[in-house]
Subunit: 166 residues, 2 copies
């Protein structure tokens, strides 16, 4: 089944989900954040099929999330090294992780605890307003059409009442 | 193709991705955050097939993300109302949105601008340490096995060098 392509929707959630929205991709990234760099290591620790892993890694290289860096000649072997764009997905996964810790861990407690080296405490991700640094909550946020919203879709989008104009 | 089930992995990212990790589900949630509640409205605004939408909404009701609330009798019709568990996914989607705004918007600019009512400024999601409130960055965070990590998997997990013990 061919899936809908979201990459060109005028929505940063849709575009990001188009990239991350496969069950394996966020887990490949999780492993990269844990320090995994080599194909066989990703394969082993995730128990993922080699063909699926190849596809996912190639996509992430194309999208500039990983850079393929040779670590050996004859035969040439590569490591998958996170780019700045890839490293900045860490807070996104940390936010996913916090929600899962809170709502899906159950009585057993959280499976993995994050330790914040710079403040020397256990941490979880808190999502705050980039301006006032208060927690970002649904009722406090309103969506407005931005400069990148296509003009031809504006009237229909405004008619739904979901947005105000910018 | 039957996909791998991640719901029981000892990892809050895997568990959350098992729930969200379908291209449509985060967009259904986005619409709910924009105020959409009714089946036909979700269907129209997303252009999603009715059978897929039914599956996704049913799953989200089962997982206590939406509550189905009747708004009309004869015939009975329901609205999909976010639960507290569902509302707390807003910061997760806001973090996804911020990353997409930063890395995928291109020259056109961001498609949607978020306005923070309580501070009266444009906002984006910043992910900070729940303890010290500094931005959470990859190199500052270390993963340790938590109480909910299954004992039988501990030796293998520690052997990979990805975790320290708790």
């Amino acid at each position: 089944m061919k899936r809908t392509q979201f990459a060109n929707w005028p929505c940063s959630i849709a575009r990001t989900v188009d990239l991350l929205g496969d069950w394996w991709t966020p887990l490949v990234l999780r492993e990269a954040f844990y320090g995994t760099k080599r194909f066989d290591d990703f394969q082993q620790v995730l128990g993922i099929g080699r063909n699926i892993l190849t596809q996912r890694l190639n996509r992430l290289v194309e999208e500039d999330i990983f850079e393929k860096v040779p670590y050996q000649e004859r035969p040439v072997r590569h490591e998958y090294v996170l780019t700045p764009k890839g490293r900045e997905l860490f807070p996104v996964l940390a936010a996913i992780n916090s929600w899962g810790d809170r709502w899906l861990a159950g009585d057993a407690g959280v499976p993995v605890v994050l330790h914040h080296r710079s403040c020397a405490h256990e941490t979880s991700a808190a999502v705050v307003c980039s301006h006032c640094r208060e927690p970002l909550e649904l009722d406090d946020v309103q969506a407005r059409l931005g400069p990148g919203f296509p003009d031809r879709h504006r009237p229909a989008a405004l008619a739904t009442g979901r947005f105000t104009g910018s």
